[in-house]
């Protein structure tokens, strides 16, 4: 298969979380993932995108969130980035149940970690955050654990 790249940039509005989720669902369907995996991709993307809007931009409109997809023979790479407030301590932020907002569960990164094959978070205070996730395609081998 030829390498495929898709980039969606969108306003920092809550309603765009659903749009980003539908986009990853179509790409997952295109790649012929099992329905379960597609649901997991949707959750991972929703968490990353809503973090960018809610935390990165403090829920304010007028900013831009970027979602980049790169598909090659082996993997689907997803990058979600914002130019928002950044995360002072990434290791701490990724701890289960850690949240800077007492109303929230602090499970976003936990879902991304458990649903994706790789997760990297790059962040700099006042510069922004980039979340990179990889889902392996396992095109040939069928993993029985799925």
């Amino acid at each position: 298969m030829k390498e495929n790249q898709l980039t969606l940039s969108f306003s920092s509005l809550a309603e765009n979380v659903g749009i980003a989720r539908m986009l990853i669902a179509s790409v997952g369907a295109q790649l012929d993932f099992p329905i379960n995996d597609i649901e997991e991709l949707k959750v991972a993307v929703s968490e990353a995108v809503s973090n960018a809007i809610i935390h990165g931009y403090h829920g304010r409109s007028g900013h831009v969130v970027l979602m980049e997809l790169e598909i090659d023979d082996d993997a689907l790479k997803i990058t979600v980035s914002d130019e928002g407030c950044g995360i002072p301590d990434v290791v701490q932020a990724m701890q289960p149940a850690y949240s800077t907002d007492p109303e929230r569960m602090g499970l976003g990164f936990v879902f991304m970690q458990s649903f994706m094959d790789e997760l990297h978070v790059d962040s700099a205070v006042d510069k922004g955050t980039t979340v990179s996730m990889v889902k392996l395609l396992n095109r040939a081998a069928s993993s029985p654990s799925r």
Partner: protein, 77 residues
């Protein structure tokens, strides 16, 4: 039309889960019922609320089961 038909076929070569077909059936029926009571075409949100599913589910189901016939009807209504 051949072009559109080709796209539809190529994009969805196989596998339409039964539940999608059922959902599309319910969507079409609900759409007719609501159109009769409202006196206008219902929106996708009105149909979703009536059935009790998400709009997203309707969008996915319509795309998955969309047949050349249905798009043909759309074009030549």
């Amino acid at each position: 039309i051949g072009e559109i038909r080709r796209f539809l076929r190529d994009d969805h070569p196989v596998k339409v889960p039964r539940s999608y077909k059922e959902l599309v059936y319910r969507v079409n029926r609900t759409r007719e019922q609501l159109a009769a009571t409202l006196g206008r075409e219902p929106t996708i949100g009105e149909i979703a609320a009536e059935i009790g599913v998400e709009r997203e589910d309707i969008v996915s189901a319509l795309e998955a089961v969309q047949s050349p016939t249905s798009i043909y009807d759309t074009l030549y209504q």
